[in-house]
Symmetry: C2
Subunit: 407 residues, 2 copies
């Protein structure tokens, strides 16, 4: 059993905890106006200063509703992952549509959600350092709906100690390893940890989560379905062992946008941790879906980036103001709407470079382009706000309050 | 001659300009405490919540001085590019060390610098839309040391109109195309634009800039030197044409960290736009320098990322809390200090995955790692603050005030 901080240090730090840690997001909420570009309300998306991140609210509304409609009768609930949008505004829309709560990847994200009106947050990664554990327990003390993932014995003991010191009983779920990245290996190792948690007086075991990250982008629905269920076999066995042992299995959470409609056959499975479905991106569009093998059109592409052409001196070549600081380096390349022949290279930090053989119009310097992002999660993490539009006009400036909260 | 906004619209927008645009960064300066994690002062960098971006201030101090020492007697000045650090705090250190001013890539960056105590800012990209031109002229009206790049006739006319409306004479430099990304092609096209600017009553022509972005990372000093000077030949001819025509050539700016010590042979060249030299990164370390062909050690690696191990269940494999939202997807992979055999994959959004055959110690969950970034500019753009350390203790929390200012 390993530990990078001594018990003594842990308790010393505990004594100082709680005050400073919860302050940041409250201040942030008070300073919302600072990052909100209110003057943009009523503008056409084509008149926004660029690069600008834009979401079509009508399409996003439909996506947020569609996941529930599609899962109706399957017995599978929805617990959307906020790592995608990092915005309490969008999380509230998801809750209003029937989500059982949200997931958060990082403690900083969970804090922003809980401190801004989201009551039920499941944190899907483990908190392994003393400051994070102390902050997590302080959050749980304040917000009853905060549930944390655990995956190793030391971590369970530390959470127990911190919960005891805070005088609370904290809810935990066990993260089960699917892709050798996070979680405890399934089967016996997982069972031992579940039993360990069950014996802790200040922890409450609430079930398991298991994320099949390796299959989300497998192209072709049937292939993806087969691989997802195969990868999940050890998880299902682990669930059944725990169920048979009489453990509390109220949560069995997992999957993503690529596998949300595959999990209803998994015994005991409770909810899908879909993230990208609100926005969609090139990576997901191209995997194909259950009803359309070529294009994954279960959800609409609501998120785009507006860019401006800054140079057109060379034939078959255009430079824009949107490089890797606007798009990330994720592949495939950003897609220019209306110009299927354009190859957009966002490899420069400050500039995008388009090469093409044919175009549907002649582009001038100052002309705007609208592009689909390669991968929605990290691109949102570059922007302070998302401009929410209806009929191409800005009606809402959405603060990305948990932007940069990678801690 | 093309234009995406009509003259009438341009003037209408002009009438509304000036107030809202300059407000943001003033508010930002007032709210600095919000993003500053003051509790971290005095902490060891090994105790920071992770992922954390850290700069060794002693090393950065030496880098900031070294570029001047190395260029002493060459007749070449230093105009550091703030796109790298996006921080007025570091820009002030650069000015104090003898920089003639700073460069900014985007108008938002220029604004943050000018509104936070940096007097001389050269913006190296063109402002091509009405709102940007209006904002740029408002900035120039307030701050005499703001110089802008131009590269096309419409843009020159628009700047002239806006400067006239504002009742000022605005300084401009002409961006000369080297890598077919920005700027006007060298030779006659550039000469025509220079003459056009010279005739504008409200613009003042101050010279040229030309960035040889394509050669900065050529491996091997002599090869890089030869390619840089070859690529610069048309720019030098353009300079000589303008000089012979009696134009004001007080600025002839260009180059970067990879070519800063190559430019003294270029006639009339005034200053290098070095950025990465303050921090260094894997991309630059590996190009080799004039005194060390293998390692580019003219500057020290001052910037690192602190990460925490969150999973160690599998032999030869460790998971950390720092993925692409902490490192970007730039190549080569982040380098784990002290573990040359570690291969660090930051391809997941939230997790880093290390694979290795041998390690110098056994790593526990909760252990910290220190890593060198692949590419410093876009990684800084992910973080709200950089922790400044001396002897590994935090002595300064540096706000990345222009983070996300890609507009």
């Amino acid at each position: 059993m390993s530990n990078s901080f001594s018990r003594r240090n842990f308790l010393q730090t505990s004594a100082l905890a709680g005050t400073g840690t919860l302050l940041t997001s409250t201040l942030q909420a008070n300073n919302l106006d600072m990052i909100l570009d209110k003057d943009s309300i009523g503008k056409s998306k084509w008149d926004l200063d660029t690069p600008a991140l834009v979401v079509d609210l009508d399409k996003m509304d439909r996506n947020i509703k569609a996941v529930h409609t599609r899962l109706q009768g399957s017995g599978v609930g929805v617990r959307p992952h906020v790592k995608t949008h990092k915005s309490p505004f969008i999380a509230k829309m998801q809750i209003a549509a029937g989500a059982v709560g949200v997931c958060a990847a990082k403690l900083g994200e969970a804090e922003v959600m809980l401190e801004n009106g989201i009551k039920n947050v499941l944190m899907t990664t483990v908190n392994v350092t003393a400051p994070k554990i102390i902050k997590a327990i302080a959050l749980r003390k304040k917000h009853k709906g905060f549930i944390q993932a655990v995956d190793n014995p030391q971590n369970i003991q530390d959470l127990q100690d911190a919960a005891k010191a805070a005088g609370i009983k904290a809810e935990v779920v066990l993260d089960i390893d699917v892709i050798r990245r996070s979680g405890v290996p399934p089967g016996e190792p997982a069972m031992l940890l579940a039993q360990m948690i069950d014996k802790m007086p200040n922890l409450r075991f609430c079930g398991i989560l298991a994320y099949d990250g390796g299959v989300q982008h497998v192209v072709g629905f049937k292939k993806r379905q087969a691989q997802a269920l195969k990868a999940y076999e050890p998880v299902i066995k682990t669930y059944e062992m725990m169920k048979a042992a009489g453990m509390n299995m109220e949560i069995f959470s997992g999957a993503g946008t690529g596998t949300y409609d595959i999990m209803s056959v998994v015994p005991g499975f409770t909810d899908v941790q879909v993230g990208s479905y609100v926005f969609m991106d090139r990576q997901y569009i191209e995997i194909g879906g259950a009803r359309n093998e070529k294009v994954f059109d279960d959800f609409e592409t609501s998120l785009t980036v507006m860019s401006t052409i800054v140079n057109n001196y060379h034939a078959g070549r255009l430079t824009t103001d949107s490089g890797s600081k606007a798009f990330t380096l994720n592949k495939p390349n950003p897609l220019v709407l209306g110009e299927p022949d354009f190859n957009y290279n966002a490899g420069s930090d400050e500039y995008g470079v388009i090469t093409f053989e044919k175009s549907n119009k002649t582009y001038k310097v100052g002309d705007k382009l609208e592009l689909v992002a390669p991968h929605c999660d990290p691109i949102v993490n570059l922007y302070d706000v998302i401009y929410g539009t209806r009929n191409d006009k800005v009606v809402q400036v959405i603060p990305v309050l948990a932007r940069g909260k990678s801690q």
